[in-house]
């Protein structure tokens, strides 16, 4: 078994683990973490394809590598948005929990 195959199998397990966490966890932040695990597993599969495509003196096929770099940045942007939505949701819940004070205090001033 080659190094690439080993990490490919690692990526496959990561996707399974992340999927399980995404479905079975109740907390929003934990689900976002689980989703990132799925993402990194998929990226690793790309890495395996890149590694196996090594040719022309390159350590790997540069096209999948570039796709992964693009994917990492987009995944970060999506994570930021998801985390912000989860935090806003928690703020809205907190504001509901304290009905009188919630009208006075700005939602942005939460802990």
């Amino acid at each position: 078994m080659s190094t690439a195959t080993l990490f490919g199998l690692c990526g496959a397990v990561l996707v399974g683990l992340g999927l399980y966490g995404l479905i079975c966890h109740a907390g929003a932040l934990r689900r976002i973490l689980a989703f990132n695990l799925i993402g990194s597993g998929v990226f690793l599969l790309f890495g395996v394809v890149a590694r196996r495509g090594a040719a022309a003196g390159f350590g790997g096929d540069p096209v999948p590598q570039a796709l992964v770099i693009t994917g990492l940045v987009v995944a970060f942007a999506a994570t930021v948005l998801a985390v912000a939505l989860a935090l806003r949701l928690a703020q809205a819940r907190d504001a509901e929990a304290e009905p009188v004070a919630g009208a006075e205090r700005a939602p942005g001033s939460g802990p």
């Binding site: 190094t3 080993l6 690692c10 599969l45 040719a55 096929d61 990492l72 935090l87 802990p111």
Partner: protein
Amino acid sequence: MSAVTLIDLALALLVLGLAAWVLATATVFRAAVGFVAYGLLLALVWVRLGSVDVALTEAALGGGLTGLLLLGAAARVTSGESEAGQPPWALRLLVGLLCAGVTVGLAAVVLLLPEPSPSLASATAASLPATGVGNPVTAVLLAFRAIDTLGESIVLVLALVGLWSLAPDRAWDGRPGSLPKVPPTGALTLLAQLLPPFGILVGIHLLWVGADHPGGKFQGATVLAAMWVLVLIAGLREPPRVTSRPLRWVAVAGSLLFVAIGLGGMGWAEAFLAYPDGLAKPLIIVIEVGLTLSVAAILGLLVAGPPAESTGRAADR
């Protein structure tokens, strides 16, 4: 391709163990800490896979900035977030079996990949001299698949718009307020004063060598953004108001420049995003520098969060 070494095996097992820890540990905060370590180990995996460019991005973005974001968020939702309410064990078992099925399917795909593997490496190598760039990954990102990179820079702008849109109305002209408020201590202040000059140099170095060696604008921009965030966390500078016009221009300048050069390609070359002969390298450098500034600003602003309640209403429109 080398045979599996003991180090590779240990690395794979550590990565999987940390992933399981992230899912199973008791509190979200501990899970976020585990995720930072996971991101760093994953960067090592990328080095072992021969993708140093990806490893740099993963370490800076996946481990560093995502970790900071999640740690901050985990610290803020200690109360509201309920971790209870897992589905009954029978359902979890079923889900576990189905997820194992997905893993088995993917593993089969990995084991049955065609031999010899299809690859665009030779095609990239053949066209590399025309771009004047030595690093094939940079050439793919900014010449052969420039449209992906353009789309991605626009996605970052949209993410920022989306993030800011989550602010309550009354907080609109405020400053980003998600960064942890830490009491100023001597050590943190000293670090925030000493590290940024070196960090900025490293960021610019990564950008500059990215043409011929591992590195590039995303890696450089992430380091620059991290330096900015460090200064903000230490309280040496206030984050800028989101209504600030210069700030918004910096955020969109990279994408606008990219689109303008792309449109120019329809005139002086034959297609959108095509570069004229001999001018490819200078144009790529111009785009990279512009994008680095914008991406660094956007990454920093994304970590800094949506505007929070403003303290003074003297808005600088």
